[in-house]
Amino acid sequence: MKFGISKEPINIQEVIDHVVQRNAGAITTFIGTVRELTKGKKTLFLIYEAYESMAIKKLEQIGTEIRERWQGAEVAIVHRVGKLDITDVAVVIAVSTPHRADAYEANRYAIERIKEIVPIWKKEHWEDGQEWIGDQLEKVSYPEGKPEAKHLDE
């Protein structure tokens, strides 16, 4: 699947295969992994949950946004759901473009947009408790009712 939610471990090569093209000189991937320590606190494992049908639509929307902004770009994004242990792969974003600068920029755009508009949530489990994490971009309210595309170079 080019844009998908997966209950199984993500095959990184398969995501990359979706963006291979004869006029790409560069493919970048972003692989989000479960980190053990956040601000000194030890994570045991995470649970990811998605509003799957909408999440897929929003991932596809991010792909469309990228193809409009970066000429010749191809995009594939797969996000994992379920229980993930430390070092497990939560998300894989692959972007191919003719030139390398675009491949980095467009990929970065994708992960920032995922954190804005894709209905996926993680619950962190620590030794002393658990909590649904939200608002990692430190925006509680959306004045426009929905998240806006933001310039990444702000």
């Binding site: 909408m54 639509k57 649904w132 939200g134 309210s141 929905k146």
Partner: protein, 77 residues
């Protein structure tokens, strides 16, 4: 009738993934008020809402059969 979906901490607080609620003709804001009052979900005021899998505004009006989802701040990636 309308299928109303809850995720993350909202799901935990409501104790259900979805509820059947008659919301036809109500605005999103009015439905939030119903959910707030019925289930004591004070945080519902600050979450986003989707109608049929697209983000909606507080003053959008719900139609018969629309699927409504309350979307807490997301944390994927």
């Amino acid at each position: 009738m309308n299928n109303v979906l809850f995720f993350a901490h909202l799901k935990d607080e409501v104790g259900a993934e979805s509820l059947q609620i008659e919301a036809k003709g109500k605005s999103v804001l009015a439905l939030k008020q119903v959910v707030h009052d019925t289930y004591g979900l004070s945080s519902i005021d600050s979450v986003m809402t989707a109608i049929n899998e697209e983000f909606a505004e507080d003053d959008d009006v719900i139609q018969e059969g629309d699927t409504i989802a309350f979307i807490p701040p997301v944390s994927g990636g």
